[in-house]
């Protein structure tokens, strides 16, 4: 089992012994409701709680075994991670492949002064067991490790990879703050889907708590009276009140979520070639990105956020795929904030004129507009036709198709907005594309980061002389598409962006 790595000079290091305490403490907190239930209500209905203790005990033993069997080592060229009791495994990654270092900590970690370290290497970060994470190190050790991995001697540089040339302008001589959370930005919190997600989580853990403690909510006085009062209301009033309560909960929880996730948010450039995003009120997370891996940035504007003049900014980085949820898998450069701030941050980080993020784009023309309407309105008309057919054959009442007519103007508005969003541009070695209505995304991608093209033409597109042009890249969403571009324009853009690649295949 890789005995060659076990030399006396090997310098294998252990995780912090304090990380042994993390698991029992977290489990204790998680079992608190059960304990409370047992102590104060003395109930032992069901065996769920005993299962809980059993699992906790197993988890504690596992964490001890894991701590005893995990060690890491850093040499001039590579970082090694060894773990496993029965199936011992050694992960090793060349240091020049490291794209990002992520330090995260929930409350227990913070109290113990620990940080979880996640090293992003691009390849197998998704696969469980293949990711390089150290759970956990003491804060100074974690920071020293991060500094060594990303700022220190980076080992042999990546020759040949064109993107390794880096992004000029992102280099700063000393620590420089690029953005900091302003409390006023909290107003954008209810305008993203994050609130809904948090409501789901709260309801989920709430029912779990009630289940564990065996509390009968309706036996609590005020709740009981509220339920009785609600029952006496008229049905219309019930719906209205219910909707209002839900809306209030959404707003409150999304604001709470925004504060919890993004409080103390800072985007700094702590030295040459590195960006650091830190955020979090109770649980903290600090992501450090190697700017040599930065291939661009994306402004994302969900409809409501856009209406309020806000935007999010994401990094397009190799090794950090754009994930789901409010944190977007660590690629978030700026939480929902005023659009001007978001464009400014993206421009500064990439070292491009802010005009690339705010300026006009090349429109895709009348045919592309026609397709937006055809697809949006056409779909709705098919639905209306089906409902009319069902009504005329006596299978359904008239109100479904009558009310479905409301969708027609909505679809037309959607199509108009989708066309307004559509655009592309190529300036100064950056490919800018914009698309979408419910979530409008404008991405600025370095042409050095483009590692291929996909051109797609459907039957309908062929009749209108349009194509969809996708630039593939190893970063971010993996491909960025300009939809429904006139064919000649698409080829010209592709040829201009990567002339060596496209020119041999063009018909002169």
């Amino acid at each position: 089992m890789n005995a060659g790595l076990d030399g006396p000079q090997a310098g294998w290091q252990w995780l912090s012994p304090r990380s042994l305490i993390v698991r029992p403490v977290t489990d204790l907190i998680r079992l608190l409701p059960v304990l409370v239930g047992l102590l104060f209500f003395g109930s032992s209905r069901g065996s769920g709680s005993y299962w809980g203790f059993g699992f906790a005990a197993v988890a504690v033993v596992t964490s001890i075994v894991r701590w005893c069997t995990t060690r890491y080592r850093i040499t001039g060229e590579r970082i090694y991670l060894r773990r496993g009791l029965l199936n011992q495994k050694v992960l090793s990654v060349p240091r020049d492949r490291i794209r990002s270092v992520d330090l995260s900590a929930h409350v227990v970690y913070r109290v113990l002064g620990l940080r979880k370290v996640m090293v992003g290497t691009g390849r197998n970060d998704r696969r469980e067991g293949e990711s390089l994470h150290l759970d956990a190190l003491r804060l100074p050790d974690a920071e020293a490790l991060r500094a060594m991995l990303l700022v220190g001697p980076a080992g042999p540089s990546v020759a040949g990879a064109a993107g390794a040339a880096g992004i000029p302008g992102a280099v700063a001589p000393a620590e420089q703050e690029l953005a900091r959370l302003s409390p006023a930005w909290v107003r954008f919190a209810p305008l993203t889907l994050t609130g809904l997600v948090i409501v789901g989580v709260v309801i989920g853990s709430g029912t779990q708590l009630i289940d564990a403690t065996h509390i009968d909510l309706t036996s609590i006085g005020p709740v009981h009276r509220l339920v009785l009062r609600f029952g006496t209301l008229a049905p219309g009033q019930q719906v209205l009140d219910g909707a209002l309560v839900l809306l209030a909960c959404l707003v409150l929880l999304s604001v709470a979520g925004y504060v919890a996730l993004f409080w103390n948010f800072r985007l700094v450039s702590p030295g040459s070639g590195v960006l650091r995003v830190s955020r979090g009120l109770l649980s903290t997370r600090t992501t450090t990105i190697d700017t040599r891996r930065l291939r661009g940035a994306e402004l994302s504007e969900p409809l409501l956020l856009r209406a309020a003049g806000g935007a999010r900014c994401l990094a397009i980085t190799t090794g950090l795929r754009v994930g789901r949820g409010a944190e977007h898998g660590g690629s978030l450069l700026l939480p929902p904030a005023p659009r001007a701030v978001a464009s400014g941050v993206a421009a500064t980080v990439l070292g491009v004129p802010v005009e690339y993020l705010t300026g006009d784009l090349v429109r895709h023309g009348a045919a592309a507009r026609g397709r937006r309407y055809f697809r949006a309105v056409g779909t709705v008309l098919v639905l209306v036709a089906v409902l009319v057919a069902a009504w005329s054959t006596g299978h359904a009442p008239a109100w479904p198709w009558e009310s479905s007519l409301v969708l027609v103007p909505l679809a037309a508005a959607l199509a108009a907005d989708r066309y307004q969003s559509l655009g592309h541009r190529l300036s100064g070695g950056w490919l800018i594309t914009r698309t979408g209505s419910l979530v409008r995304r404008r991405s600025v991608l370095s042409t050095d980061g483009i590692i291929g093209w996909r051109i797609h033409q459907s039957w309908f597109q062929r009749r209108q002389g349009l194509v969809s042009l996708a630039a593939t890249t190893a970063a971010g969403r993996q491909h960025y598409v300009a939809h429904d571009v006139p064919a000649a324009v698409a080829l010209a853009v592709a040829a201009a962006a990567t002339s060596d690649l496209m020119t041999p295949f063009l018909r002169s």
């Binding site: 291929g452 996909r454 797609h456 194509v467 190893a474 690649l501 041999p504 063009l506």
Partner: protein
């Protein structure tokens, strides 16, 4: 196909037409078998006879037209710098990937393809959206291509991102 973009220089193997026809026929037969099973279960009314006749016609048309159309669309080319393919039939896809950014080359031989003496070659780049598939090659061409691409990609240093 697209004015301004020239065709990739090579066609796929002529035997691919037979393979696509066989696959279309097999899919059609599965569909027919399912329809017959349901029809028998529900008493085999006149409606089912019409449905079956329509299905047979549609499957036959698909199995006759699709492979020939597809054969005219599918083309590929490997130059010193890039892999260039065109695939599809009703919808057409063009893919271009530079050799310098290719990370892995592999070749799958499915049972059906082996029956027809066919093979395919897949070139993967560092982008999850960027693999280039060349399907329906005859085995000799696929082997030569595999060697050629493996040699070409081995010469480029770096991690191809």
């Amino acid at each position: 196909m697209l004015p301004g973009l020239r065709d990739p220089s090579n066609r796929v193997s002529r035997r691919a037409v037979g393979y696509w026809t066989a696959r279309a026929a097999a899919d059609g037969l599965c569909l027919l078998a399912a329809e017959i099973a349901v029809a028998v279960g529900t008493g085999f009314g006149l409606g089912w006879w019409i449905a079956l006749a329509l299905t047979v016609a549609a499957v036959a048309a698909y199995a006759l037209i699709m492979p020939r159309w597809r054969y005219r669309v599918h083309r590929w080319e490997v130059t010193g710098e890039a892999v260039y393919t065109r695939t599809g039939w009703i919808s057409v896809h063009w893919r271009i990937a530079p050799i310098s950014r290719i990370q892995t080359i592999d070749s799958h031989r499915w049972f059906g393809e082996r029956l027809f003496g066919l093979a395919n070659v897949t070139a993967t780049t560092a982008s999850a959206a960027g693999p280039v598939h060349i399907r329906g090659l005859d085995r000799g061409t696929a082997d030569r291509l595999l060697d050629q691409l493996t040699a070409a990609t081995g010469q480029v240093p770096g991690d191809a991102t």
